[in-house]
Every structure is written in structure tokens, then in C-alpha cells.
């Protein structure tokens, strides 16, 4: 499976409260959750994101609550893969359990900027161009 898309880049310690603020947790509708994904740190995210795009971030991505809504909101927004320095434990497990691809790759994080186009990401071989 080769993927292409645009990178949305964030810093360290992106927590589950900004991935999907609790005020929206009264819905478990995936599409509704995706509309509010990242809204407290990136108001434009849900307007700009399209199928196949990436989130790229620093260390400890997904720290905080155990809410499964966080990886669900990201997946439902169309994000094909989250690439980070490292993932917080519960998010890491939730992402695998709900089927959101995640990748730890320091080199990629270092070299990718917000808005960069990524193509030919091959999750089976875990390489990218």
C-alpha cells in the first residue's frame, strides 16, 4: 500500500485533549469526531485535511487520556499515518487496536515540514520519499 498526502506538523506532547477535546465526547459518531480533530491547536485542520494526509509530530504524541476517540478522530479525518518521534503508551495501543497506522521515525520528523507533500509512503516496507 503506497500512500500520498500533505503533512500536518506539530510539536512534542500533542495530548488527547487537543486531538479531540472532551466537550465533543458526547458523540461517538466518527465523522462528527473528525470535524473537531485538533481544533484547539490547529483550527484549520478539519477544513484542510483530505484523505491520505499525514500528521507528523515530535515526542510523546497522544499523551493524556485513554480515550479511543483520539485515534478514531484522526483516522476518520482521513489521516493515513501518524509519524512521530515517539508515541504515548495508551495512544500507541489504541491506534493499533482501532487500525490507525503509526510510525516512529526521527529522520522523517526532522526532515518534514508543515504542508510538505509526501508520496510513496510504503507502510509494508516502512520507507518514504
Amino acid at each position: 500500500m503506497k500512500i500520498r498526502g500533505t503533512a500536518f506538523k506539530y510539536g512534542d506532547n500533542v495530548d488527547t485533549d487537543v486531538i479531540i477535546p472532551a466537550r465533543h465526547l458526547n458523540s461517538s459518531d466518527h465523522e462528527e469526531l473528525s470535524k473537531h480533530c485538533m481544533e484547539d491547536i490547529d483550527k484549520c485542520f478539519s477544513d484542510k485535511v483530505k484523505e491520505g494526509d499525514f500528521i507528523v509530530a515530535g515526542s510523546n504524541f497522544g499523551c493524556g487520556s485513554s480515550r479511543e476517540h483520539a485515534p478514531i478522530a484522526i483516522k476518520a479525518a482521513g489521516i493515513s499515518c501518524v509519524i512521530a518521534y515517539s508515541f504515548a503508551r495508551i495512544f500507541y495501543r489504541n491506534a493499533i487496536n482501532i487500525g490507525l497506522p503509526i510510525l516512529e521515525c526521527k529522520e522523517a520528523v526532522k526532515n518534514i515540514d508543515y504542508g510538505d507533500e509526501l508520496y510513496n509512503l510504503n507502510l509494508q516496507r516502512a520507507n518514504y520519499q
Binding site: D17, P21, A22, L25, S59, S65, A88
Partner: protein, 276 residues
């Protein structure tokens, strides 16, 4: 869960050796905030934190629960204490079944070892917007507070209620202060009722709620408006967690939180005791 199996990744371990006796008004919350400040919010990412040493004999079960609860805020999978007399006393009152005691192997390997002198830790507060962003109470400065929340899975236990009542007894909250107190369980609520603490809370000007996560995650009650500041005994102070993205959360112990509710700004419980 569909398959009836669950995958497990075995964590490596980090050891924290605690010595000394905590100062007055320093409890589990201050110690764990201090540790998170020391190793950072990903300092124990997917690892097990073992808290050992002669210092733990000074820590009640409620202190230990608070600390174990918040090891997750350092990224840990879990936080564990060795079983001692304090644990056994607690278990004997509660265990409905036979129990077994497990302990770490003598030759267990640790990724890292730290030593912590409990007697050197001051009442500690985590400033917005990360639990690692800690300050000793003496370095806080003048921070005016709109709301205090005492409760949650982190600090809504019997001892937390007792300390809160001790500080609030015969005192009144500051003008304009919203003080919300939430016993963590119905049992704790009943104990607080029998001990007369609920009356103390209400007479001091608090609102007492049935057990709920409520304001901790901005669920309901005390949702913060733009620019508002809260001291909460909860576990996380991320952007927007308790309401508006431009509100601020300061994490502290029930003692610091109760003292703050009276003073209207973040203060050391000693200052309230001495008369403001």
C-alpha cells in the same frame, strides 16, 4: 477483544528509591508532581515505575494511590509499591478472597534508578499546560484563582477529604471563589458525611457533588471560561482540558487547593494555618 485475546508488551522498569520523611502538608501528590517534573511527561514512556525505599513507610495507601495514578502522566504503564505493613493492613480490611504477595526479583534489571529525598520536597504545583511544569510553592508568586476543584480519581479519597476539612474548618472561601468538592466514591462520600466534613465544606462555601469525573475533563460543572484560572487536584492540565482553550489549570494537592480556595490565590497551607 473479538478474538478473546489481548496483546501485551512487557515494559522495562525504572526504580525510584525514596528516603526521608515528607514535610508537613506534603503528600503523595507533591511527591509524584516532583518526580514528573524530574523525569518529564515522557520520562517513563511505556515503562514500569517502581517506588521503593524506607521513605514509603511514611506514605499512606491514599498517598500511594495518588502517586500510582499519576505515574501515567510520566508516560508509565504503571506505578507499583512493594507490599509492606501499610498495604497488608489495608488489604486485610478489604480482601474478599485469598491474596498472594509478589515482589521484585533481587537481581531485577532496571533501565534507570533515581534517589529521592522526601524531606526536601516542598508543596508542589504544576503550572499550565503540562504536569511536568512544576514549581515549589515558595516560587509560585501571586497567582489569582477563580475556581478550586478537590476530587477526582487522583485526589478524591478519604484522606484528601479529611485534609480538606481540616483546612476549611471554621474558614470561608475567598470572595468570588468557586470551590467544588467531589468525593471519589459513594463510600468516601458517606465517610465524609459521617465525619461531619460535608457540613464543614458547605459552611466554608463549597459546592459538594456526587462522585463524578465532572470538571476534570471539562465534562460538566465548573467548566472554565476564557481567561479563568483553576487549581485542581486532578491529573492533567493540558490546553482546554477543563473548558476554554485560553483557561489555565494548576495541579496541586488537596491541602494547597483548600488553602488556595480560602486565600483566593495559590498559597502554602501553612499561610492559612498562620492566619492570612
Amino acid at each position: 477483544m473479538v478474538s478473546g485475546t489481548c496483546w501485551m508488551k512487557v515494559p522495562s522498569a525504572i526504580r525510584f528509591s525514596l528516603t526521608g520523611k515528607p514535610q508537613k502538608w506534603v503528600g503523595g501528590k507533591d511527591i509524584i508532581l516532583y518526580i514528573i517534573g524530574m523525569i518529564g511527561v515522557d520520562g517513563a514512556c511505556y515503562q514500569s515505575m517502581e517506588l521503593i525505599g524506607e521513605g514509603i513507610k511514611h506514605l499512606s495507601m491514599d498517598d500511594r494511590f495518588t502517586m500510582a495514578n499519576m505515574t501515567v502522566e510520566a508516560g508509565a504503564k504503571n506505578g507499583i509499591f512493594p507490599v509492606d505493613d501499610v498495604t497488608v493492613r489495608y488489604i486485610k480490611q478489604r480482601a474478599a478472597k485469598e491474596y498472594a504477595v509478589y515482589k521484585a526479583d533481587e537481581d531485577a534489571e532496571y533501565r534507570n534508578s533515581y534517589h529521592i529525598d522526601l524531606s526536601a520536597i516542598r508543596p508542589t504545583v504544576a503550572l499550565p499546560h503540562l504536569p511536568e511544569n512544576i514549581r515549589a510553592i515558595d516560587e509560585i508568586g501571586d497567582i489569582r484563582i477563580d475556581q478550586v476543584v478537590i476530587g477526582s480519581c487522583t485526589n478524591g479519597r478519604t484522606e484528601d477529604m479529611r485534609i480538606t476539612a481540616q483546612i476549611l474548618k471554621g474558614r470561608k472561601t475567598a470572595k468570588g471563589m468557586r470551590l467544588i468538592i467531589i468525593p471519589a466514591t459513594q463510600n468516601i462520600y458517606l465517610t465524609a458525611l459521617k465525619e461531619g466534613w460535608i457540613e464543614t465544606f458547605i459552611r466554608a462555601g463549597a459546592v459538594v457533588s456526587t462522585p463524578t469525573c465532572g470538571p476534570c475533563l471539562g465534562g460538566h460543572m465548573g467548566i472554565l471560561a476564557k481567561g479563568e484560572k483553576t487549581v485542581a487536584t486532578t491529573n492533567r492540565n493540558f490546553v482546554g482540558r477543563m473548558g476554554h482553550p485560553e483557561s489555565e489549570i494548576y495541579l496541586a494537592s488537596p491541602a494547597v487547593a483548600a488553602a488556595t480556595a480560602i486565600a483566593g490565590r495559590i498559597v502554602n497551607p501553612e499561610d492559612v494555618e498562620g492566619g492570612l
